[in-house]
Amino acid sequence: MRTYSLLIITVGRGGRKRVKRGNVSLKLGGLVVVLILAVSIGAGASAGKRTKGQGPAAANAPSGTVTLSGWSVGATEEKLLKQVISAFERSHPKIKVSYDAIPNYDQAMLAKFSARRPPDVFYVNSEKAPTWIKQGLILPLDSYIKKSKFAVAPFYPKLMTAFRANGKTYGFPKDWNPLVLQINTAMLAKVKAKPPKTWAQLRSVAQKLRSAVPGGKPLCLAAEWQRMLAFVYQNGGSVLQGNKPTFTSTKVRQAVEFYVGLQKSGLGDQASKLGAGWCGEALGKEKAAISFEGGWVYPYLPENFPSMKWKFFPMVKGKQAGTLAFTASYSMGTHSKNKEAGWELIRYLTGRTGMKLWSSKGLVLPARKDVKVKPPGPSRAPLLAAAASARAWAWPPGFDKVWTVANNELGAVFEGKQTIPAMLKKINDEAEDALN
């Protein structure tokens, strides 16, 4: 109360009558009482909600409000998600979903985790999953899976690995996207070439395409391991075996030499050199004829470059088929409040019905083998065919820094300021540090 008396003195010195002071203190006192009341009512209300969801009454159908959060997405995707959510609410009348798209997602989520108030259900990027799991932020779902007899088998196993640790399951993939080829079919027809299927054909088709891309390059090559690693897999290589980094292995080096060689021989370059922010944009601006991106170029390309003719084609093969898959899960937090109802939502969104609705518009691919969709736009068969050979982008905790170093080194190699063996050595050292 000392604070308040001090405040009253100041008011008094301001030249007011003493009677006034009494009023002020009364008002302040009143305000405090109101605040205390408000806080306790608020706490009571939220405590009430909690018991509703978790208490012994949960034998009945779960109920209450489920908070759902993900990163900000385009308007088309957000609209679709809201449709899926209202379909869930219709089939689960006792549960209400409160959806929030969060900008600066990772940053905001870490703050929510720290405050022990994460949303009930949220997206987890496969890249972030191992770190978040290790920090104890994500709830293992095994007891819920068992209790509700939720079938895990229909999910693509390679996508599931990203969300598994210590024999437990921490989320179900909401969808996925592999890297495949996008080719400007008009340019391809102009030089009378067929879509490339092997590394050798990729080179020869790119050679032919030189004349078809004025002011650009045949290939858009990102200076990122998030693209180049697909070629490593095609060469039968890998960068991690068990707990040992293998960046310096021959198979990795050969694949890097091939990828960088495409740039060195002038067959391709980075998007920034082609006047674009990313390879999808370079393709759209017709500054490149071939890019290595995923399903996310749709609906971006038709929306922004409606006259450009393009299609998806399968990823090229090296010694074997191989590509990268990017995925994210629906998960719950260790400190999520309404877990029972949250699980119902996850079960629906990643279940057959929800997944079918979610992937029907062609923005994403279904993460379940038992969901078949016929989305609008170009054929997704090349994407779906990648499921057998695609490996999810998921790494041990601490690997984020390895990729920062790896991409900077690759940028230096593209600029001719670093050699391939020196780059691989440096990344390998960094990976060893991260794994220790």
Binding site: L6, I9, F113, Q135, Q270, S272, G275, N408, A412
Partner: protein, 298 residues
């Protein structure tokens, strides 16, 4: 409150009363300052001695975070970039700010318009300005069209950081101008009159009178500019998409700190980076104080 009853007050108690009232006035801002600034600052020091995650303490590490930083190549790179950035940006920022201030301090036509125009970039959000700069400096952007080149200014390690430097010198020049303008107007006019009577030309007047009399202004602007430069983050974050590329050229200390905390979820290690940055800024500010203090007494 008991003091009110007395009819005669000693000077001493009057002082106490005045002090109390003074503290009462500053209590709220001071409290929020302590809670939202000093407490987190102290806490950052504390957690820098731990392996710290979103759910709190994981393991006590002693000085290990600091020892790791000593051999962290990426951190060294970030530190080097930031220091180089500061060494180039601060003098240019001060020179440009001072020139603009001198210009708009003259009795020009449309003086207010110029003042507002020069200050305008400081009002716009740095993210928006950087986004526009990305277009202007793109390989098929406006700048290349004017120069007849096809350089990806932010996409090449030789020009990426330099482009951010140029961008920031321009955006902050308005703020620096404002500080210098205030300092310029604090110089009494009689010294100029005396100089005019002695026949000093304007160039000489500037270097012999205006420039030395601006000492407090120089100190303030230098300190603000150095602190701002050492904390450069948003432009570096936006142009590299957070990766600090190409070839580490736009990796700055605060960007590294952000990546460590948010991407790597290593709060303790990130706090150690913050503590080192704090020590650096603190030392440089003290050094500046000493340098400018000596100039003043000279």
């Amino acid at each position: 409150m008991a003091t009110e009853a007395r009819s005669e007050r000693s000077i001493g108690s009057e002082r106490v009363r005045e002090a109390l009232v003074g503290y009462a006035f500053v209590f709220l801002p001071l409290a929020s300052f302590l809670v939202f600034f000093f407490y987190p600052l102290g806490y950052a020091f504390y957690i820098s001695y731990f392996d710290w995650g979103p759910l709190g303490k994981i393991e006590s590490l002693g000085l290990e975070n600091y020892r790791d930083l000593a051999d962290d190549e990426l951190f060294h790179r970030a530190l080097k970039n930031t220091l180089r950035y500061t060494a180039i940006v601060v003098p240019l920022q001060m020179a440009l700010g001072l020139s603009l201030a001198v210009v708009v301090n003259q009795a020009l036509r449309f003086r207010t318009l110029f003042r507002a125009a020069f200050y305008f970039p400081a009002l716009a959000s740095s993210a928006a300005i950087t986004a526009i700069a990305l277009y202007i400096l793109a390989s098929d952007g406006l700048l290349n069209a004017l120069l007849g080149t096809e350089k990806a200014w932010f996409g090449e390690s030789g020009t990426a950081l330099e482009s951010i430097m140029a961008l920031n010198i321009w955006t902050t020049s308005g703020t620096m101008m404002l500080f210098y303008l205030a300092a310029l107007q604090a110089i009494p006019t009689d010294v100029y009159e005396a100089a005019a009577i002695d026949g000093a030309k304007s160039w000489r007047t500037f270097w012999r009178i205006t420039f030395p009399l601006l000492k407090p202004g120089h100190f303030f602007v230098a300190v603000v500019s150095v602190i701002g430069s050492l904390q450069v983050f948003d432009q570096a974050f936006i142009v590299s998409g957070g990766g600090g590329g190409p070839n580490y050229s736009t990796m700055t200390v605060v960007l590294y700190l952000y990546n460590t905390a948010i991407e790597g979820v290593r709060f303790g290690y990130a706090a150690a980076v913050g503590v080192i940055l704090f020590a650096l800024i603190f030392t440089l500010t003290v050094v500046q104080r000493l340098v400018f203090g000596r100039m003043e007494s000279a």
